[in-house]
């Protein structure tokens, strides 16, 4: 069964929607010849003064006659930070969901998935000023069920408004992610400063695994307007009157160029990009994404 966004929109709270999407993904994974993402790997660290005695791997001492501290269980757990753009432009969407709602569903489903396999999940709501420039809200890493519920509540409570300060939010995320982590950025990347791509690349340069879910409304991709329209910016005071039919060709060219340039530039920086439209079933999108990551 496909989880159509329109259907999801009718399901109610984000917790329900996100769980439904997560279940859809899991169903897809079971049908898949792959068995999901494995993050297991081991690591021993030679004991040094200051290390917890209780963490000494006595079995290894028995074999090797050296003290090794068993660290892998704790340190190989995935730390995933979901960065959701809640700027004004993400509030656009005249269909079943706004871009922000769609991004929230995807983020919530990912949070379920990650916490289900024991990974820690954090959330950063990017937007205008909040707890930090460009960060409206932040939820630290955790993997408990209550944490996920808290994360979902935060997502549901976020509203798209204000200007995009994604670079600042990404810097904040890089700071909070600490060591290597999976950073999932859900945004339309409509950044007036043009610094968002640079910030993503910077994030990747800090050895974070960066996944960009570039979310757009179908109308932004197809520009299907006919009547004379005064286009109002959702983030600032800009506005313009235009004949959509007359500028459609030019608009689509510009949009294609933007998407293509973004994708290529980030691909060169080893940033995985998934460009999605809000009319696509989110479970399919996530399934495709996970399958691709496993194949890689």
């Amino acid at each position: 069964m496909t989880l159509d966004p329109a259907l999801l929109a009718r399901l109610g709270p984000l917790q329900v929607v996100a769980r439904k999407v997560m279940e859809g993904v899991l169903t897809g994974l079971h049908k898949s010849p792959h068995h999901g993402q494995s993050v297991e790997f081991s690591e021993h660290k030679e004991y040094a003064p200051g290390d917890e005695i209780r963490h000494i791997d006595w079995r290894a001492f028995a074999k090797l006659d050296k003290y090794y501290v068993k660290r892998f269980e704790m340190e190989t757990n995935l730390r995933a930070l979901l960065v959701v753009d809640a700027s004004g432009s993400m509030a656009y969407g005249r269909g079943a969901m706004t871009k922000l709602q769609y991004a929230s569903v995807c983020a919530g489903a990912l949070a379920y998935l990650l916490s289900r396999q024991g990974d820690q999940v954090g959330l950063c709501i990017a937007g205008d000023a909040g707890i930090s420039p460009g960060v409206r809200d932040f939820l630290p890493f955790a993997s408990s069920a209550t944490h996920v519920q808290e994360l979902l509540r935060m997502l549901e409570g976020s509203q798209g408004r204000g200007t995009t300060l994604l670079p600042a939010a990404l810097d904040f995320a890089a700071e909070k992610a600490g060591r290597r982590a999976l950073v999932v950025v859900l945004t339309d990347l409509f950044d007036a400063t043009g610094e968002a791509v640079r910030a993503l690349k910077m994030l990747r340069s800090r050895r974070h695994d960066v996944l960009l879910l570039q979310t757009h409304d179908r109308e932004e991709l197809d520009f299907p307007f006919d009547d004379p329209t005064r286009f109002l910016s959702m983030e600032d005071e800009r506005q313009i009157e235009a004949q959509p039919r007359q500028i459609r060709e030019s608009y689509l060219r510009e949009m294609r160029l933007f998407l293509e340039t973004t994708r290529k530039e980030l691909a060169r920086a080893d940033v995985e990009v998934e460009q999605i439209a809000t009319d696509a079933p989110p479970d399919r999108v996530l399934l495709r994404l996970l399958a691709r990551r496993e194949a890689a």
């Binding site: 656009y92 009547d227 109002l232 506005q239 007359q246």
Partner: protein, 717 residues
């Protein structure tokens, strides 16, 4: 000025409001939309804003143009020359196309003649007429107005086209005023209310009578009496398009004997006219006899004036055809009037033997004194060579070589001389002139000359004794004279008195025997001059003396021409009266002498001319003269092969007015045609559209189609 055939369609111009409304609708206040990707909208709009604005304006213009052009085209607009509007009636008009086919339309202007231009423009005008407009075509030439007449306007365009296409210019003059009046009359036969005349002409002043009433279309027959005529719209198209039509022409040629040039010397006086605004200098004039140029000269002709040039030449005897020709290098002008033909009958030289019957050492008393004086070379131009012998000497000379033998008071000649006279007259056609005197014995004369005499002499009558008192009152005078005879033809009515006043004191009475023709008789009825054909020759008997012995006629001025004519007449070398020059467009009746019939007349091109026969004179030929040049007649008796008769040769000349191409004043012409309200003088074919003007609808449709294409191209983008 713009005119519309169907002005109701102009309401369609309101349709232009539609694209304007669409444009304004598109410019209406747009609905607001908060849009995430506004950055791309801004970029696109920046790129296309200027182009889009221009495109919108172009689109609006194309749509307005499309609707406007279609609406205007449906209204069938036409462009009329200024001034025609007032005269133009709306709706269809019966149209008369009048093409000037006069000689002046042969004027070459560039590569075409005025007539060719006029014909082409008339054909184009015919094509432009509306389908509901009947038309008629007439060629204006000659005094009769239209050659071939002008029928009622009809819709038979094919016939009208054929008539125009086959039309050729004539050598005739034209009466454009009469043609316009006739065209107006023809228009009266059409039921169509609108009336229009379009005339194509050189607008030469000579063809238009400014004092004539303007052309009027007669009212319909069913109209009540007293209904005034309708004034038609008249458009006169200037085939020359305002060009100055300068032209030099030979407009007159006079040929006359010139004593200073010797025997058969003639001078040809050519009158050359210049109708141009600039004087012509050094214009070469040539006198040609056949292909040979015998004299040449140069003449200066003032602007709008004439000049005469006299050229002399010694002409051969007989009928001489010649031509006076202008040598001109200009490419434009009238060619046909640059030369004029002439025909002159040059009498042949003749030799006369004067037999003096009463010679005297005193010249004044010599019997041959007056005759010699009359035939002196100074008085005959050297044409008559006279030799005087006394009777004895004359009897011993051979008479061969003499054309005329003049016997003056000669005693009855011996039989041998008489026989020689008889043979000369009968066989060689020599002429014999016999004058009497005291040496003449009637009976001896009758015996000696016998049948040579027109009538036998009877006796000598003395009307009065010369020198006695009252003799002049009793003397005989000429009573009846045959003035039409060549001997007396030179006498005009004013000069006849000089002949009638001569007094004759003594003369011979003749016996009423024989067949002779009395040319003159005295007041008592007795013959004075009597002639008789004898064989191939003639004998002329003067019943009195050629000296002052019996009459005072020899001392009167009338004696000299009669004697000269008599000698020429007898020698069949009479100086013919020069044939009058005929004018093109006239008719000339040719009558052959001696009961012969004018069988054929060859025109200037050598082709036979169709003759007209009068029922009263079936042998005469009436020659319609259609072209300038020389006309030669062939005559013949029935059953005999026709031969050319040089005496009937004549020359036809062009009407000199046709060589004057000065244009009529346009303002005066318009006034004559009824004023600018109903008359228009157009300078071009396009302006000659008359009430219709130049149609614009096809161009408008093309414009509309282009606008449609442009609109489509702009919309697709």
């Amino acid at each position: 000025m713009l005119q519309f055939a169907h002005p109701a369609y102009l309401w369609g111009l309101l349709g232009i409001a539609l694209p304007i409304l669409v444009h304004l609708f598109n410019q209406r206040r747009p609905r607001p939309l908060s849009f995430g990707a506004i950055e791309f909208v801004l970029r696109s709009q920046r790129q296309k804003a200027r182009r889009l604005r221009l495109r919108q304006i172009l689109l609006l213009a194309m749509r307005c143009l499309l609707i406007g052009a279609v609406a205007l085209a449906l209204a069938r607009p036409s462009l009329k020359p200024h001034g025609v509007q007032a005269a133009a009636a709306s709706g269809p008009q019966a149209t008369a196309l009048v093409v000037d086919a006069s000689f002046s339309m042969r004027y070459r202007l560039g590569s075409r003649t005025l007539f060719e231009r006029a014909r082409a423009e008339a054909l184009a005008t015919l094509d432009r007429l509306g389908p509901d407009e009947p038309a008629t075509v007439g060629l204006c030439a000659g005094p009769a107005g239209f050659s071939g007449g002008m029928g009622a306007p009809s819709f038979d365009r094919l016939a009208a086209r054929r008539l125009l296409q086959s039309a050729q210019p004539t050598y005739l003059g034209s009466d454009m005023t009469g043609c316009l009046a006739a065209a107006a009359k023809a228009l009266g036969e059409s039921p169509v209310a609108g009336k229009r005349i379009i005339a194509f002409s050189d607008l030469a002043a000579h063809s238009i009578r400014l004092d004539a009433p303007p052309p009027l279309v007669p009212p319909p027959p069913e109209a009540p009496a007293g209904t005034p005529g309708i004034r038609p719209n008249v458009v006169l198209v200037d085939a020359a398009r305002g060009s100055d039509l300068s032209n030099a022409a030979v407009v007159g040629t006079v040929v006359r004997p010139s004593a200073t040039l010797g025997p058969r010397g003639y001078e040809v006086v050519a009158t050359i006219a210049n109708s141009g605004a600039q004087p012509v200098s050094g214009l070469q004039v040539s006198l040609k006899l056949g292909p040979q140029t015998v004299a040449k000269g140069f003449v200066d002709v003032p602007a709008r004036g004439t000049a005469r040039k006299t050229l002399g030449a010694v002409l051969p005897p007989g009928v001489v055809s010649g031509r006076v020709e202008l040598a001109r290098s200009e490419l434009q002008g009238l060619d046909e009037d640059d030369a004029q033909d002439f025909v002159v009958h040059v009498p042949r030289d003749l030799k006369a033997l004067i037999v003096d019957g009463a010679p005297s050492s005193l010249r004044a008393r010599d019997e041959a004194f007056f005759v010699e004086a009359a035939l002196a070379p100074a008085r005959t131009g050297g044409r008559i060579h006279a030799q005087t012998l006394d009777a004895d000497a004359a009897a011993n000379v051979p008479l061969d070589g003499y054309d005329v033998i003049v016997l003056l008071n000669v005693p009855a000649p011996p039989k041998a001389f008489s026989e020689k006279l008889r043979q000369a007259a009968q066989q060689r056609g020599a002429g014999i002139f016999i004058a009497l005197g005291d040496h003449v014995d009637p009976d001896a004369y009758n015996d000696s000359l016998g049948e040579l005499l027109p009538r036998p002499l009877h006796l000598i009558k003395t009307a009065a004794e010369p020198g006695t008192s009252g003799a002049e009152d009793h003397a005989a005078r000429f009573g009846v004279l045959e003035w039409t005879h060549p001997l007396f033809r030179v006498f005009g009515p004013a000069e006849r008195e000089g002949l009638e006043s001569a007094r004759t004191f003594r003369y011979a009475l003749l016996k009423p025997e024989g067949q002779a023709h009395t040319l003159a008789s005295y007041d008592d009825g007795a013959p004075a001059l009597i002639e008789k054909a004898f064989g191939a020759g003639r004998v002329l008997l003067y019943t009195s003396s050629a000296s002052r012995a019996w009459t005072d006629w020899p001392i009167r001025v009338s004696f000299l021409p009669v004697l000269q004519q008599a000698v020429s007449w007898l020698a069949d070398a009479l100086e013919q009266r020069q044939p009058a020059v005929a004018m093109v467009g006239e008719e000339r009746t040719l009558s052959a002498a001696g009961g012969a019939r004018v069988e054929k007349v060859l025109g200037p091109d050598g082709q036979p001319v169709t003759l007209r026969r009068e029922t009263s004179h079936p042998d005469d030929g009436v020659v319609p003269i259609g072209a300038p040049g020389q006309y030669r007649a062939l005559i013949g008796l029935r059953g005999v092969e026709p031969r050319e008769e040089p005496a009937l040769t004549f020359v036809a000349a062009l009407d000199p007015r046709e060589s004057d191409l000065r244009r009529v004043d346009e303002a005066e012409l318009k006034a004559q045609l009824g004023g600018a309200g109903s008359a228009q003088v157009a300078a071009s074919a396009a302006a000659a559209q008359g009430a219709h003007g130049t149609p614009l609808w096809s161009g408008l449709l093309l414009l509309g189609a282009l606008a449609l294409l442009g609109e489509g191209a702009l919309t697709r983008r």
